[in-house]
Subunit: 269 residues, 2 copies
């Protein structure tokens, strides 16, 4: 793909400040970024919004809302309040969507935890709709079910979106999380018109942790061009986020990480 199709998810170069990420994107001809909320917090939402809007960069998503599951009502209510703030932040920076990483398992009750996720999304839906801020449910890899997301497949994310039944709710497809799924092609087709974002990295072994073992584009076994074609065919025409959560790549100088990632994006996607 061309760099014109690319977005830099800030977690890929998490040691950079927001100003530095913006400058790197502008200098390298990348038209979009996708910041994480903690990065906005370092300068405050208002200043972050000024910086981003002033740059002319597109914001493919704000990462992340969600985490709706909690053992007690108080925790679930706090999560909802935090998501209302996340919607405001996403609106302030002009994000295409707010990514929802829905939250991990409470106790051993998968069905109950999944119900908490639905309740949480429905609770924030009016505020999101009023702000015109799309909510993108992201299915995470099943190895993160205990601690990050009880929503484990694209099909499950779409079932949840169907159950909620609002035009404000769609899905975000992350190739790392879904590439293994025998239903992937069918579910991407089913998601047509509802794909709010598309993120890529690569699957490498050994897995050294459920969250931060992602590989550089081109180093692993995911057929990224094939998945990208499916996602494009299903109507998502926005920039593709490079989102690499990796202890290995975090230990490299961020400028070099971007050198490699953008070269691979152009060559391997």
């Amino acid at each position: 793909m061309e760099l014109a199709d690319c977005s830099i998810n800030t977690i890929t170069v998490r040691s950079l400040g927001l100003r530095a990420v913006i400058d790197e994107a502008l200098a390298r001809g990348v038209p979009a970024i996708a910041p994480w909320r903690d990065l906005l917090a370092t300068v405050g939402t208002d200043e972050a919004a000024r910086m981003i809007r002033g740059s002319g960069l597109r914001v493919t998503s704000l990462c992340r809302g969600g985490m709706f599951t909690a053992p007690h009502e108080e925790g679930r209510r706090a999560a909802i309040e935090d998501n209302l703030r996340a919607i405001d932040e996403a609106y302030a920076i002009g994000a295409d969507c707010l990514v929802l990483v829905c939250g991990g398992l409470v106790g051993k009750d998968l069905a109950g935890s999944r119900a908490m996720v639905r309740d949480g999304i429905e609770a924030i839906l009016p505020h999101a709709a009023a702000a015109g801020m799309p909510l993108g449910i992201e299915a995470l890899h099943p190895m993160m079910v205990a601690d990050r997301s009880v929503i484990t497949t694209l099909g499950e994310a779409l079932d949840l979106a169907d159950a909620i039944g609002s035009h404000t709710v769609g899905v975000v497809v992350d190739a790392y999380n879904v590439s293994w799924d025998p239903q992937l092609e069918a579910q991407v087709r089913r998601a047509s018109g509802r794909i709010l974002g598309f993120q890529i990295s690569d699957w490498v072994v050994p897995v050294t942790g459920q969250l931060v073992s992602r590989g550089m584009i081109g180093d692993g076994c995911i057929d990224l061009p094939a998945i990208a074609r499916s996602v494009r065919a299903a109507g998502y025409d926005g920039p593709v986020e490079i989102e690499i959560l990796s202890d290995r790549w975090w230990s490299q100088p961020p400028g070099q990480v971007l050198d490699v990632a953008l070269a691979r994006f152009a060559r391997d996607v």
Copy 2:
């Protein structure tokens, strides 16, 4: 569950020799074991068969056949030949089934790799049918798709069994691999009459490797009693294998591991 419902999968105490595992099972009132092939190889299949048959223990499975995927024809042919030997070994020790761990991804071609698995099973099917040895397709957790199994869900394993369409082919359910799946209950029902084995351990975090991060029964977040009830309701009435691949537990004295595992089996399943 009662210890009368239990089987010791030998990988759980992999430092023990076959004689020692047999003696531990007999001494503890456990009616079954499930050996791995490398353990049989240490004494030879004939001697292993004499020891096991002489003990009166049931053999819930032989672990494992499969690994049908390989980049070249030669490798796939070697895998088939190895599986024919595995069928003979399973027959010799009187195993209820041969577990198939189907093999990981070749290159980036999931569909092609999955086709290799089907081809491999079909190639060994006549020999298995002639021996009356059931073949149990095991879906592994999706985090093992690259290196162990392109068959990632129970639904996919059943689709594959359906496509092959032989009474010799069924499935093995391993709670660790499938507990996350929103389709699990429905697929276990669908598997009714075709469940050849049931294995348990627990899901603990952090995951420190895709293969050997399993937790002790009761230490994690899998609702083992619920899954066990589903599997029983679907007609599997044989012993339940304790199969814990774990660097942590492998570093403990095997007698103590069995103490804990059997106490947890009685208390938590």
